[in-house]
Symmetry: C2
Subunit: 256 residues, 2 copies
């Protein structure tokens, strides 16, 4: 007997693998820093970044903790956490671009919610055009080992984000996590490749949960200080330089 697989179903009705749904909190990074939001963190990722701060949503050994949920069930939980007042929903991961999120976005929009998605840009989806905000954070070579950025895929993400006749497309930004000079050079290259897209530089946390219990706060702030000076040295003025607010506030705590 043939047992239907998830991949056999039309994409809109396939279930979404969810690692966690939490909030209401504030977005801690990027151009939406400080905005109240509920996070939907999907499970599964095509990358294995050295300094990943959410390996529990990435590594297969956590798969049993990820719930296959319908868009309806996810949206019901989002509404409960938002106390039924429309807000910004942040789709994160893992890599949320793997999941069939289109119907969740449609459902939320109909109720007045807005959607931001964060992805490394290695998987492009036509439904990116439906988002309100898209953050593309391609990873510097040092973060993903020998795996180089697949530029044609990032190009495709940018292309889908331009929108369609029906969907005007999200406000798109690039976010590069920076630990050192090599990462910084990569960010400069990305900026030169996509000159029209808003760029955000984010200082990395070298003490994520799998490395240390306690975040090295002064180390993170020192790196921010260095990064600001580095950017000034190049007279790179049309960029935004930010820390992760949640790391400053809550360290490595999960679910905030």
């Amino acid at each position: 007997m043939y047992i239907p697989q998830a991949s056999d179903l039309p994409q809109k009705t396939r279930s979404i693998l969810v690692s966690e749904i939490f909030g209401n909190t504030v977005q801690g990074e990027g151009i939406l820093i400080g905005k109240p939001t509920v996070f939907v963190r999907t499970g599964g990722c095509d990358y294995r970044c050295v300094n990943c701060d959410s390996l529990y949503a990435v590594l297969p050994q956590y798969r049993s903790e990820w719930n296959p949920m319908t868009a309806e069930a996810i949206f019901a939980e989002v509404q409960r956490l938002a106390k039924y007042t429309p807000l910004l929903v942040t789709l994160s991961g893992g890599n949320p671009a793997i999941q069939p999120l289109e119907s969740l976005i449609d459902m939320g929009h109909a109720a007045g919610y807005t959607f931001a998605l964060e992805t490394q840009g290695s998987i492009a989806q036509p439904w990116f055009a439906k988002l309100d905000y898209l953050t593309l954070s391609p990873k510097p070579p040092g973060m993903i080992g020998t795996q180089p950025t697949k530029w044609e895929r990032l190009d495709l993400c940018v292309s889908y984000a331009r929108g369609t006749q029906e969907d005007r497309g999200p406000q798109t930004s690039l976010k590069i996590v920076i630990f050192d000079e090599e990462d910084y050079s990569y960010a400069k290259y990305v900026a030169s490749r996509y000159p029209g897209i808003q760029m955000c530089l984010q200082v990395g946390n070298h003490t994520p949960p799998h490395v240390a219990q306690q975040v090295d706060l002064s180390g993170v702030l020192n790196r921010l200080d260095w990064l600001i000076a580095r950017v000034h040295k190049d007279q790179w003025h049309n960029v935004t330089i930010l820390p992760q607010l949640h790391v400053l506030l809550w360290g490595n705590q999960r679910g905030v």
Copy 2:
């Protein structure tokens, strides 16, 4: 013999009282947080806020430190600090709305620079229409003693910021500094009074230079934690909640 007074001259040629010009640094607060900028801090203020972090640009006893400068001289210094690459110039104070800044803005625009101005909104100027960004930060009653907000003046600031046929007007936001529940209530009132304007809540620093040498960082972060919870309790979702990045990074240090 009649000696001409500054106030006799046409506004465009009057000199500007400058407390300090510094940068390149990053904007530490509000909707432009993280953006590289040069600050022009003018001297003189119509307010005496309890927790003012730049009394050296406010109190008359510092007046001898303020330089009367022409727009040309200020812009030359801005260009030097920006290494002759256009960037965001932040006009701050004191209350910069007291000063004749119009020709400085015109001059900078002609060279590709953009301008943000920060003011409490107690003095309105038609040239606000020329700005690229305007941050209005009316002060909660606890911060200015018994002096209540002059709403008709804030209304006029908002009105000028709508622009004219020649100038499309700045991106305007409201920023309220919050220490306690009373300040928070004031912010809620301001938001209800100006529903169309982006609102930013900023946690106050109870350890500014004239109170303490060292900033009470954990106190500031605890207040941020409280403020986020407070906003969530009200399901206030269309607001931005931020700390002062420069306080986290550099404490009470001046000129950064």
